[in-house]
Amino acid sequence: MDNIVLLVVLPLLAAFLMPVLARFSEVVARVLGLSVLVFAIAIIINVWPQVNSQATSIAIGGFMPPIGISFYVDQVSILFALAIPVMVLLFWPWQRKTSIREYSLMMLLTASSSGLVLSGDLFNIYVFYELLAVASYSLIAVQGRAVSIAASFRYLLMGSVGSVMMLLGIAIIYTQTGTLNLAHLSLLAPLHLDNMAGLAAFALILVGMGVKAELFPVNNWVPEVYGSVSSNLAALMAGLLSKLAVIVVVRIMVLLFPQPEAMQLMAMLGILGVITGELVAWRARDFVRMLSFSSIGQLGLIFLAFSIPGDTGMMAGIALALHHMVVKPALFMLATGWSGSLENLSGVARRSPLTVLLFVLLILSLLGIPPLPGFWAKYLLMVGLAGQDSAVYTLGMIAVPLAMIVEIAYLFRLVMIMYRKEDTVKVKAHSKWGLAIAASAGAALIAIVLQLQPAGDKLTTLAQQLSDRNYYIMTVFPQFHTAETGMQSIK
């Protein structure tokens, strides 16, 4: 079980070793990176059954929490931890002859994002978050085009202001409680964080993490960045990194800030994200730009879903996040051949009918057409929203359907262009690898439709674990038998 730590350590080591090794043998360096990723997947598969039965907390270096730093491994974090090496492998920059630096940055990205989902304390979350940010700025800049450097700079500006905000938030929490361990904080939160200072800390953390999670309104780096980097990196950022940030925010919210004000703030920003994202996507005349704004909209939905109190909202959030994690990278993979103006795609269905059908399948699921998985996620979201009384959720209940109508209008306008009679296609062929990924994403959607019942059950378990505060505390501090005894002993 303790070898979970290797998920962070090995890629980190590899990241620093690779440039050095490359001086002696470039091949060895390149193989090293890949083998670390494969090894990471093997580790996770190895511990998977154990985690499935019982979540664990791993004290690093033998120092027990709350003094030592700890990793928390439950079904949710192991799922995302698995997704990281898998998706990094899938979106590895195979196609181009890249410098070893880019490989090294990819390893850094793997290490930091694994650390981010597994960390059990705020300090490490901040450290890994910064590492991740640095890795992604550099990865964008390393693409070498003038636009991508400009985009990277924009992202850097927003990201650094964001991380200062987050640091400030963490500082406030520390002054209020004197600890940074999440489980410990969770015990103290009702006493010390249920006040204005606590909520201010949450707002700061939300805005800070939100930069990465494409949260409105700190997301206006998104279109430029996705538009200027390779599809692979865009797929990785939109599909994986944004979700990791969301999961961390949700963990912090569940454990530390279950106050309605915190949730409503997040809900409000989520709604604004959905509306603005979908509206701008409606105007977009460029495939990647359209996908970027649609991604902003989807992330808004995810935030809105997670902000709903109760299990239904949590289920909706996880379902939407996982769904987006499958669909959006697949769409970005299709963008490898279809980048540029939408008009270039006129009549593309005559040339590659199957690819267009795959595209239609993906967007149907994105729109939430039953019985595709996207529908069940949206259904849960609507049921969750309908169960709340607060005006924010009612607003969400109205905004989400309206946004969906806008979304179908622009997505099917594109489908119409693709199915035009006249064939004026000016697009490249897709890379085989990208097409294979997109096809397997489509197959995954169909597989889930055929296995709805078990998928629903798994989702329920994930949501329960993610929303269960006591379970978290009990896992980290097994010496307390209930959260109440923990509270008492704290007092």
């Binding site: 700190v218 409503q264 703030l265 057409i369 259904y379 049921v383 109508i405």
Partner: protein, 651 residues
């Protein structure tokens, strides 16, 4: 395995089979066999048409704590029968000569896709009709929407594509409205099962019911094309390839009515809906729905009057006729609902026949534009006969079946004391009569155009289904009791007192209707007239088609005369001012609004100072927190900092 399992499984497998063999010529024969067998399976369930117990499918799905199941009751069976029978007629219609021509003009692939779209439509409708709870209803609903979209998508012309995308946006709006309603129903009643919701409805407040009925009404109403959601339907249906238009025009939009009956009539019950008063008016919710129906009979019908293309004229009528059904169902007594439900059957038969006739004319002449038609009666007499019988049905004139259902609706309106609605319905019928005359006159009457002199009668494979439908139109007009049996069973299934009827019509203390008697008198009258004319010295003279005059001016047979331009010029002069395209402008305004908001949002994403923005946002977020947080009185001061961790935690 129940019969319902057989039906659904069979149709699903048949869909796969048709999709697989779509490139072969045999697909046309296969589809005829498929619909014939499906009809046989429905006949095996015919106990449902006479008040039998619902049949359940053994397939259920348990997902996210909801139990989804499928079943057929009398109402579903009635709608399913219409669907499958119309599909059968359509498939015969499109099997022979029409298929050859379509394959030549397009490709065998395109024809196969049309067949595939048809069978997927049938399958999805059966799934919808079989739904047993709100979630399976929604799944079926969306399947129907997308199957319709597939059908519309087959025509690659620009107009058709524009209509299709308009449709899909409307359909999404409908779906979202229904999804909202379903989510709210779940949160209010704690269940998605019809029976449990029915029990819980009693505890809901009027506001809640009003909200739900509005949301469901908007969703289902969009599919039916009721006012003000009528703009999408006509173009979308008219532009689908011929037989597609036959099927879609006849039954597709009625799925909205089915769902509306299940939700509003069966679950919420109209007495409950009628109890909801609309503030500041003398109307209640039920009146509103009835008036939506009445306006839907009027506005689209008069828009139909203005059309210059036979397919568009018929499609606009389809929208208008939906209004009668809604109006009938909303009267809520046994006569009115019987009229509304029966009209679904009657309408499907004559609308299918009419679209077939128009498609046959298009098949022979290549156009459905009124300005390019005329005088075809000499060339296509049987098609003419089909159209005449069908428009008699559509206009609601005895002895055809359309008369019976419209009579029931009128009767119920009068008995119910709704004179205004009655007048509205009559105005709608007036528009119908005028526009169907325009249809038959501009297509078949007048002088034949030069280029149509070699046109032949429609081929047998197309004539047979038309004539079959004519027999049904006439047969169920003379003996409406056959259909009224099924209607009564359907009424019973949704909890309305079934109509008392016999083979010839209905029995009613205030004056019933016996169509056998009515038809008898009519034919007796015709016979007397014929005798007077032919045997008692009445002179008759046979006039050649080209031997007529225009405005007192003699025309040689070299100049063909046919009056089709500015038809009803006088009437249009009177009512022309009302065609202001109000709803179209409303639609455009909405699009402009979205465009404006979209630009506004884009400006935000193009902002040049992102970092300042983050800071500003953090500030606003803090301000939001500070202002909304209500501070407890006793812990108003800053919370104390704990003394590290040594204090509390046991090692």
């Amino acid at each position: 395995m129940s019969v319902l399992d057989d039906l659904l499984l069979f149709t699903a497998l048949a869909s796969v089979a048709i999709i697989v063999v779509r490139r072969f010529a045999s697909v046309s024969k296969l589809s005829v066999i498929v619909y014939a067998l499906a009809t046989v399976l429905l006949v095996k369930m015919s106990a449902l048409g006479y008040g039998g117990e619902p049949i359940y499918s053994s397939f259920t799905l348990n997902v996210l704590g909801q139990n989804l199941y499928w079943r057929f009751d009398s109402l579903s069976w009635f709608f399913a029968l219409i669907t499958v029978v119309i599909a059968l007629f359509t498939s015969v219609f499109m099997s022979g000569a029409w298929a050859e021509k379509y394959c030549q003009e397009h490709s065998t692939e395109a024809y196969g896709l049309l067949q595939a779209a048809l069978v997927l439509n049938v399958l999805s409708m059966l799934v919808l009709l079989a739904s047993g709870d709100l979630l399976s209803l929604f799944i079926g609903w969306e399947l129907v929407s997308w199957a319709s979209f597939m059908m519309m998508f087959l025509n690659q012309d620009k107009v058709a594509r524009k209509a299709a995308i308009k449709y899909i946006v409307y359909a999404m709006a409908a779906a979202m409205s229904i999804l909202m309603a379903i989510a709210m129903t779940y949160s209010m009643t704690g269940s998605l099962d019809y029976v449990q919701i029915m029990q819980a409805v009693a505890h809901l407040s009027n506001t809640q019911i009003a909200l739900l009925v509005t949301l469901y009404g908007v969703g289902f109403g969009i599919k039916m094309g009721v006012i003000p959601f009528h703009l999408w339907q006509a173009a979308a249906y008219a532009e689908t390839p011929g037989p597609g238009a036959v099927f879609m025009g006849a039954i597709s939009a009625r799925m909205g009515l089915y769902a509306l009956i299940v939700i509003v009539v069966q679950i919420f019950s109209l007495t409950r809906v009628a109890a909801i008063e609309i503030p500041y008016t003398f109307l209640n919710m039920q009146n509103i729905l009835a008036w939506v129906g009445a306006l839907t009979t009027i506005i689209p019908t008069y828009i139909a009057l203005k059309q210059n293309d036979a397919r568009y004229l018929l499609a606009w009528h389809g929208v208008g006729q939906g209004g009668y059904m809604l109006l009938g169902v909303m009267i809520a007594d046994s006569i009115g609902t019987a009229g509304g439900i029966m009209h679904v059957f009657n309408y499907a038969t004559y609308q299918a026949a009419l679209f077939m006739a128009v498609t046959a004319v298009m098949f022979r002449t290549g156009t459905s534009n009124f300005s390019k038609l005329g005088g075809l009666v000499t060339q296509m007499p049987l098609t003419f006969m089909v159209m005449v019988v069908s428009i008699i049905g559509l206009a609601g004139i005895p002895p055809m079946n359309g008369f019976v259902s419209k009579w029931l609706v009128y009767r119920a309106l009068l008995l119910d004391g709704e004179p205004l609605l009655f007048v509205a319905a009559v105005i709608g019928t007036l528009g119908t009569i005028l526009s169907v005359y325009k249809l038959v006159h501009n297509t078949f009457l007048g002088q034949l155009r030069l280029e149509h002199q070699d046109v032949k009668e429609a081929p047998l494979s197309m004539l047979l289904p038309m004539l079959g439908l004519v027999l049904i139109i006439f047969g169920t007009g003379v003996m409406p009791g056959v259909v009224l049996d099924w209607v009564a069973a359907a009424q019973n299934a949704v909890g309305i007192a079934p109509i008392t009827h016999n083979l010839g019509g209905i029995e009613l203390a205030q004056g019933g209707l016996d169509m056998i008697w009515v038809t008898g008198v009519m034919f007796y009258g015709f016979a007397v007239g014929a005798i007077v004319f032919y045997f008692l010295g009445g002179k008759s003279k046979h006039i050649h088609q080209f031997d007529n005059y225009a405005g007192g001016h003699f025309l040689t047979s070299k100049v063909r005369y046919h009056y089709s331009n500015h038809f009803y010029a006088g009437l249009m002069h009177l009512i022309g001012g009302w065609y202001k395209d109000f709803f179209k402008k409303l639609e455009q305004a909405l699009v402009s609004l979205v465009s404006f908001l979209s630009q506004l949002s884009e400006n935000f994403y193009r902002s040049a100072q992102p970092a300042v923005l983050v800071a500003a946002v953090a500030f606003i977020a803090l301000w939001f927190i500070m202002s909304s947080f209500s501070m407890p009185a006793d812990t108003g001061t800053v919370a104390p900092i704990t003394q590290g961790i040594q204090g509390g935690l046991p090692k």
